[in-house]
């Protein structure tokens, strides 16, 4: 019945359809097979998001593995302002504000202002809440009294979820905790949330600001990992069978050379002295002369790193390495060693210290605190004669003195692993004037940091070898395995063993018969040197511009640096008070007693045997 034409036309239509389907197949082949990789790459951007996995920051430990700083998980109390502003979800905003104000110790008006902030969707209400606050907020969120019309949502599998108010919520954070509070605050330093744009408030311990936290950050911080998360169109996380991730590497623990016990002794003693003597700051450094390990380093006034916002930033600088001062007579120990090493004098050589004043050639008029007459060089140091020192050291010449001091590390950074260390001031000899050669020997016209001075004394105590100061002893991984050890390292030989030995006995005599009598420690026979240096104060004209600097007659730097026991020193201790006021200004009266107290307690703490027998032996030997 159908004609040939009908059949032909219908076949044509069928072929047309098959062609259409073939075109689609070809198109699909191009999309799905040829351009597959392109679409997979594009899909990654849309279907997946990379979530950072934060590493745990390492802890800081003392040499006996006592924890000094660690990171702990904590919560932060936040507000979802959109939900708080929605009267359906939060019918009673005032009640919420007053309750929160009471629970969190905030001002109610301030809370209300926060709630009304324009253009903001969320706000932090309390950065470091206590456990009680966290518990109270958890209860508040489940209290229907406050939020009668609160949201009820059904879970994916039906059924009503537990009632929770979402206007206030807790967010996970990490906080840095210093269990010892103010102890070691300047050394440990502190961390804060990352202030760089886009990183605000990610973690409260991600950005080191000062101290070991900053200088040892490379070991402490660890390495962030990531996890690819499948997300839906609203960027919600969708569970997936395969998890592609790179785990985070937690930070390593830093073990300091600091001994918490000695540190505590130090801080207690300088703290007490800070109360009793009028001064701006006190620094103390305790060093093991043989290894260069810093056993304690303390400054006053201090601060609480757990609560830095309440303290003046001026208190936060580590004066022991970030501040330099004119050391005064204490420095004579170093210049005397340089003179002896330069063979321009022997300890027994007589030096004429005259009537108590002397005009140096092309230099200043020097004064001693009283006329000394003729003294042996040993006595010049013991009695701390300015004139004697200037006369002897003048023989060295500028270059000789300068080179000797450089050997002691004066004028260059010690390289200790602490941030912000300064090199102090020691001008090169070509800039020295006639005054310089007279003033440098008595510790003026140059500036040292407390640590430099302590290390220079440690070189004398260590038979003339200057060590590099160590603050970090070793790096340990999470399991406690030592990953890296910092071995004691000699910087150079400062003076010969013989000179060092002579200096040790001279410095012992400073304590027994010279200016440092109050530094005596029963049974440990310490040696050391006092220092009382006039402070240079600026003089300004009417406009407030500094015209010149003048040595003050009332404001002083008082120092004592020494070691004990003198023959075979176990520890070197420096005590430096800045800006003491006459009459409580002599290094021998305000710094030496602190040295003695720290020394006695520290040596007993270190279980160094007092050697009374030994002294008796030497005494009987002298009698014989």
């Amino acid at each position: 019945m159908l004609s040939k034409s009908h059949k032909m036309r219908s076949t044509l239509v069928l072929v047309g359809f098959i062609l259409c389907f073939s075109t689609i197949i070809a198109r699909l082949f191009s999309i799905q097979v040829l351009r597959h990789d392109y679409f997979v790459a594009r899909g990654k951007k849309i279907y997946e998001t990379r979530e950072l996995i934060y590493p745990k920051r390492g802890s800081i430990l003392d040499r006996n593995l006592k924890v000094l700083a660690l990171s702990e998980p904590t919560n932060i109390i936040c507000a979802d302002l959109r939900k708080i502003r929605d009267p359906k979800l939060t019918p009673n905003r005032d009640l919420l504000a007053s309750t929160l104000a009471r629970l969190l110790g905030l001002e109610r008006d301030r809370l209300n202002r926060t709630f009304a902030l324009k253009g903001r969707e969320a706000a932090y209400l309390k950065r470091k809440p206590t456990q009680e606050m966290i518990d109270a907020v958890e209860v508040l969120r489940r209290d229907r009294v406050f939020f009668e019309a609160g949201r009820r949502s059904t879970s994916l599998y039906g059924g009503e979820k537990e009632f929770i108010y979402h206007g206030i919520f807790l967010d996970n954070r990490v906080k840095r905790v210093h269990p010892d509070g103010r102890l070691l605050c300047h050394i440990l330093g502190f961390v804060r949330d990352d202030p760089r744009p886009g990183k605000v408030l990610v973690r409260d311990d991600s950005y080191p600001v000062a101290g070991i936290e900053k200088s040892a950050d490379r070991w402490l911080k660890g390495e962030a990992g990531w996890r690819m998360k499948n997300i839906d169109n609203r960027r919600r996380w969708v569970l997936s069978a395969q998890v592609v991730e790179k785990p985070a590497v937690n930070g390593q623990n830093v073990v300091l050379t600091i001994d918490e016990g000695i540190q505590f002794i130090c801080e207690e003693e300088i703290g007490r002295q800070f109360e009793e003597v009028a001064c701006k700051t006190i620094s103390a450094v305790v060093v093991n002369p043989r290894t260069g390990e810093i056993l304690a380093m303390a400054n006053f006034p201090n601060f609480d790193p757990n609560n830095i916002v309440e303290f003046d930033p001026e208190r936060m600088s580590n004066q022991a390495v970030e501040y330099s001062f004119e050391p005064g007579s204490t420095f004579k120990a170093i210049t005397a060693a340089v003179a002896l090493e330069g063979r321009v004098v022997t300890p027994e050589e007589k030096v004429d210290c005259g009537p108590g004043y002397w005009k140096a050639p092309k230099g200043p008029r020097l004064r001693d605190y009283r006329p000394q007459g003729e003294l042996t060089f040993e006595k010049v140091v013991v009695k701390s004669s300015n004139i004697g020192m200037a006369k002897v050291c003048g023989r060295l010449g500028a270059k000789g003195l300068w080179g000797g001091l450089r050997n002691f590390g004066i004028g260059s950074k010690t390289g200790v692993l602490l941030p912000g260390e300064i090199s102090g001031t020691l001008r090169p000899p070509n800039l020295w004037t006639g005054y310089s050669l007279a003033e440098v020997p008595m510790g003026q016209e140059l500036a040292v940091t407390p640590l430099q001075l302590a290390m220079a004394f440690a070189a004398i105590a260590n038979d003339g070898v200057l060590m590099k100061p160590l603050i970090v002893k070793e790096i340990r991984d999470e399991e406690g395995k030592v990953v890296r050890r910092f071995e004691p390292q000699a910087a150079r030989r400062a003076v010969s063993e013989k000179t060092a030995k002579t200096m040790k006995s001279i410095l012992r005599k400073v304590v027994t018969e010279g200016t440092g009598k109050r530094a005596e420690i029963e049974g440990y026979s310490p040696g050391g040197k006092t220092g009382t240096a006039q402070r240079a104060l600026p003089v300004t004209d009417e406009t407030g511009r500094i015209v010149k600097w003048v040595y003050s007659d009332t404001i002083f730097n008082s120092t004592f640096c020494g070691f004990a026991p003198a023959e075979d020193p176990e520890i070197v201790i420096l005590v430096a008070l800045q800006s003491t006021v006459k009459p409580k200004h002599f290094g021998g009266t305000v710094a030496a007693p602190v040295f003695a107290r720290i020394g006695e307690k520290a040596l007993k703490y270190l279980q160094v045997q007092p050697h009374e027998e030994k002294e008796e032996n030497t005494r009987s030997a002298q009698l014989n």
Binding site: M1, L2, S3, S5, H6, K7, R9, S10, T11, V13, L14, F17, I18, C20, F21, T23, I24, I25, R27, L28, F29, I31, Q32, V33, R35, H36, Y38, F39, V40, R42, G43, I46, Y47, T154, L156, N230, I231, D232, N233, R234, V238
Partner: protein, 383 residues
Amino acid sequence: MQSERALLIILIIILQGIGLVMIYDSSAIYANEAPAIHDSDFFLKKQLVWMALGVAALLVLSNVDYRLLIRNAVPIFGMTLLSLCLVFVPGIGVKANESYRWIRLGGKVIQPSEFAKLTTILFLAFALSRSSRARYPLTLKKLLLPLGGVAACAGLILVEPDFSSSAVLGSVAFIMLFVAGTKLRYLFCLVAGALGALSYKVVTSSYQLGRVLAFLDPAEHQAGIAYQQTQSLLALGTGGLFGLGLGSGRQKLGFLPYLYNDFVGASIGEQAGFLGMCVLMGLFVVFAVLGFRIASRAKYMEGYLVAIGVSSLICIQAVTHLGVVTSLLPATGLNLPFVSFGGSNLFAAFIGTGLLVSVSRVAEKETVKEPARALRARRVITT
């Protein structure tokens, strides 16, 4: 002949199976989260109800002589035009997405345009077979009735507005005119006129112009009007050769709206990959071949036209749907027959299949009858 019908039934069972799985997979998350629904089985249940109705219609129609329907084609077509008008009547018509495409009937919302496609096929079969019986080829005068009917129907659908449905309707009518033996120069004029009207419509409607522009330059409109097609390509592309695996699709996570009907092809391509799409394509090709075989074996002009009309309708919808999914055509919402979610469309597809079965059965009856008569006659002679 019977094996053809069996194959046809198996084919739609397979397509229906693919459809149900894909609808559930693509709609469950959306249905669970949509505030008005909150039931992950919502779309699946609806589709199952319509499937049951469709199977019933298929069973009834396959046991009815399609010529009965052809004889009543004029009143049926009249009712169709009436229902297309009812869409605009407040109270009965349902407005959604700024268009009037649905009417509420006995608690169910149906889309008359889906049924209009079928009734137009019946009407054309009636009109064209009557005219072509007298003389071949068709004269211009005899074409006036069928053309007028199609124009009325397509026009009503166009003002709903439902551009794609009227375009499908027009294409089916064109194919039927072609296979009925209309002179090529008439058809050429028809195509020219339709294209002219089409371009006028596209240029004047900012909505459709936007879609066409987006189609021509998808990169420019990635986030806006071409968003769906960009996502659809992404779905297909990430699927690759073997697909992500059933249930592992990502576009269903709220990325591509209407994944369970207008873009179900993308969902299949994403999860079953290129090979899966080839199988799907193969199923539709087999459907087309079966449909055209039934047509070529039909005893009557009406059957021939009905079978080709129905096969073309299914194929055009499939081609357009997949063309949109693969960005070969501008974005438009068109279901993949038997697979996409959509009650009226599914029901109409079942009815169409019922008509095909009916055509096949009638043709078979006629061919079987004659040898039987001859046999009986021979027996008379021998006795």
